[in-house]
Assembly symmetry: C2
Homo-oligomer: 211 residues x 2
């Protein structure tokens, strides 16, 4: 946080009173902020600029978000939520565990490329989130981890995958092979070769799982 | 580059006259600058600060480096050169291709952890290099790529590795599995689990290469 002073967060009492309408207002602010930050840059924009651009008072925005970073975190969480929605759809497909695992790679990479980049330029809010270790990523990481485990367990139970290597070790290794396609800065370096890279890594992982 | 104006580069004529002594002076400046940036931060330091701290004139430093970024790039190149020296030592060991490939993972991760971090805090010059896509990484990436290819070819020739998957595809996939341990920002997230993660991924890759 270098561009804006951080104000006092909204009081816990007001947070406790937020109802469905508040939830909707919050989502509207996040949507408008996302569009604004994409055009004008997260770093260059203050909460006052943002309020003016989206036609709200600064005080009104602070009713919902304690700081610019809190808005940024909400944008990131929404972004990551869209990726996990696509991955959950793969999990639910009536396919073998191996085939579902194979599809995770290109889906993760394509969704990230669509969400983190605007005309191939990495959104500065994403760079900030990554370099400052924002917390929005934690739930996302846990969800990815759970999906990997569910697929490996399913593949082992179906006799598709080897069972000699400890389950934790296999899951940890597969998670690591996903990061190059999950991490925005790694993704940026291979936007031109996502299809080849995801097919190659998916293939390698599937070969490693042969009984 | 946000903190210092970029001066005119040294003229090509003076660059052409650089001899072994110049090379040594250049290395001394890089070494001193590395120490200085590690303590005071790359972003917060100007070339004038640096010159003062290491007892040289700003003009003298500009004889060797056209900008602060040029010094930063030289520091990064030196850092990455130390990693590849360690990897080349593995390549030269009298071991099977599989065993050498397995050792690449922990060596890469440990060397990066030692060089990119200072008391577990990521050196800000490294963050800058990564987020601004400095060129120092290009030679390094090529070298990693060449090592992977040499090991896969050696393993295939020795009958250790399967030969059905196209060579390019296997090499690309293995390179991708190295990035989580080569990329400073990815490494930062797993300093606590480098041994487990490198062993798991090395094991997965070796299993995938079984004939």
């Amino acid at each position: 946080m270098t561009t804006a002073a951080r104000p006092t967060p909204a009081s816990p009492a007001s947070a406790g009173q937020r109802g469905p309408l508040d939830h909707e207002r919050r989502a509207q602010i996040v949507e408008a902020a996302d569009q604004h930050f994409r055009h004008y840059g997260y770093h260059k924009t203050t909460v006052a600029d943002l309020a003016k651009a989206i036609g709200l008072s600064t005080a009104y925005i602070y009713k919902f978000f304690s700081s610019k970073q809190a808005i940024g975190e909400a944008i990131c969480a929404r972004c990551l939520g869209e990726i996990t929605t696509q991955l959950r759809a793969i999990m639910a497909e009536p396919l073998s565990a191996g085939e579902r695992l194979r599809r995770v790679y290109p889906t993760l990479a394509r969704a990230g490329a669509d969400l983190f980049f605007e005309e191939r330029r990495l959104h500065d809010i994403v760079v900030t989130a990554v370099t400052e270790n924002w917390h929005a990523g934690t739930t996302y990481e846990e969800e990815l981890r759970d999906m990997v485990r569910a697929l490996v367990v399913a593949g082992r139970e179906a006799g598709e995958f080897e069972r000699e290597t400890p389950l934790d070790e296999v899951c940890l290794a597969i998670e690591e092979t996903l990061w190059p396609f999950a991490h925005p800065l790694m993704l940026e370096e291979k936007l031109d070769m996502l299809d080849a890279a995801t097919a190659a890594v998916g293939g390698l992982v599937l070969r490693s799982l042969r009984p």
